[in-house]
């Protein structure tokens, strides 16, 4: 018997997450299962454990997208765009910090162009911007990245679909069962209500939780604006009372 065998997580609310089949986002039509998910009533340690990355050697600028990409040697320029810090806490559904978990992010540059072989958008690449970051949350679950605000970009879905500015975020959490990939949007972005991917969420509150908030107090004068994005992973039942829930 291992501790993991007694673990229990709050069930995932599949009506709160976007459904697999969301025809407004056209690519889901052929990529969504037609059969129901098979529900494991009693998950095993295969589901209730997961990787920890504290031994992974991160580079000094892995969470600093202003510094972690230079095309070629000897360049010392900074990326173009609005300097921002994206930060927040990873908490579980009971409000408990999720320490030492891997948070990864990726994004387009300030012009809305991804540094990816398959992105052919006419906005230019930025020679000083890669668009990838990673860090490990601290003891209290905090993480932060320094970057530039990504630009919106058009994509082929409807005739004139645009993605609002967004940063992709990947969080491990304590188990395979808590694994989560999502996107942070920016408070006040007028494209949010027009986005077919945002519309895969049924509940306006869900969109709200994916919206990073401008935090003037944590912004740095004459340097950067701060956007706060707290991430909630599935709650792990810990106490007697929680376990009765």
């Amino acid at each position: 018997m291992q501790d993991s065998d007694n673990k229990r997580f709050v069930p995932r609310d599949r009506n709160w997450h976007p459904p697999a089949y969301a025809p407004g986002y056209k690519t889901t039509v052929a990529r969504s299962p037609r059969q129901s998910l098979v529900s494991m009533q009693h998950p095993s340690r295969s589901e209730l454990t997961g990787p920890s990355f504290q031994a992974l050697r991160l580079g000094p600028h892995d969470n600093d997208l202003l510094m972690n990409y230079r095309e070629g040697q000897g360049r010392d320029g900074l990326p173009i765009g609005e300097r921002i810090v994206m930060f927040g806490r990873v908490l579980d559904q009971f409000g408990k910090p999720v320490p030492h978990t891997l948070v990864e992010m990726w994004q387009a540059n300030a012009g809305g162009r991804y540094r990816h072989k398959k992105d052919g958008y006419l906005a230019p690449l930025d020679p000083n911007f890669g668009g990838v970051g990673r860090c490990i949350t601290d003891e209290q679950g905090w993480y932060h990245f320094r970057t530039v605000r990504p630009g919106p970009y058009p994509w082929p879905n409807d005739i004139n679909s645009w993605r609002p500015a967004h940063i992709h975020v990947s969080v491990m959490g304590p188990a395979i069962a808590t694994r989560l990939i999502t996107q942070m949007y920016f408070e006040g972005d007028p494209l949010i209500p027009h986005c077919p991917i945002v519309h895969t969420l049924n509940d306006p509150l869900a969109v709200d939780t994916l919206t990073g908030r401008l935090d003037m107090a944590r912004s740095r004068p004459m340097d950067y604006l701060a956007y706060r994005f707290d991430i909630v992973t599935r709650g792990e039942f810990q106490t007697y009372f929680e376990n009765q829930g």
Binding site: V38, G50, R57, H168, R179, L201
Partner: protein
């Protein structure tokens, strides 16, 4: 964050909702596929070095959509026990075996994901009975709004498969077979192949847990 009340008058925060990993997931999680220089250490598709205990194997497969077309922008994560049936959660590239790995299908050619690993040992189910050897797989891609979670089993473990409580929890015996990888031997290597079918004929069983 959003809160929901619980029956006992407390509050529970709602889990952050998922959004698709999108077509450019590689920039963040599979840098070489995007064409971005690698950092000092990356999480990738080799779970086991030749020094690891157990039978060295490769796992390969394609991801196929409801039209029968290859999904060329899929990103796959694997999680499995070591040869002795124990998980090795502390990811450390200096160790011969890690329980976790990542792979991606490619834009060109066969478009196969693959993992270099060892055959996992048996892990107990929640009721203590042994499950058949298996590898947990999670599939992310453009058009997948929340990852699809499945398992890969082995076709040369017929006896263990027949008594695996998780396989047997799949009501349809026909559907159970969608999780069984086929053993191949080529160039002195042992390879197990499993295509993941997202929709339609032979649709892979996906789990929630």
């Amino acid at each position: 964050m959003s809160q929901q009340p619980t029956h006992d008058g407390g509050v529970l925060y709602r889990e952050t909702p998922s959004q698709t990993a999108g077509p450019y997931v590689h920039i963040g999680l599979a840098l070489d596929v995007a064409g971005i220089p690698l950092r000092d250490e990356e999480v990738w598709s080799r779970l086991a070095t030749p020094e690891a205990d157990g039978e060295p194997i490769e796992l390969v497969g394609r991801v196929i959509d409801g039209n029968g077309d290859l999904v060329r922008d899929a990103f796959v994560e694997a999680w499995q026990a070591d040869a002795h049936g124990a998980f090795q959660p502390d990811y450390d590239l200096r160790k011969p075996f890690n329980s976790f790995g990542r792979s991606a299908t490619t834009a060109d050619g066969d478009s196969e994901w693959s993992f270099t690993t060892v055959k996992p040992g048996r892990v107990p189910a929640a009721n203590g009975k042994p499950m058949a050897p298996h590898v947990c797989l999670a599939i992310f891609a453009r058009g997948i709004n929340i990852q699809l979670q499945t398992r890969l089993y082995f076709d040369d473990e017929a006896e263990a498969n027949a008594e695996c409580p998780v396989l047997n929890a799949i009501e349809s015996p026909t559907r159970r077979r969608t999780l069984i990888a086929t053993r191949e031997e080529a160039d002195g290597k042992v390879r197990y192949r499993l295509d993941i079918r997202l929709q339609g004929d032979g649709e892979t069983v996906f789990f929630e847990f």
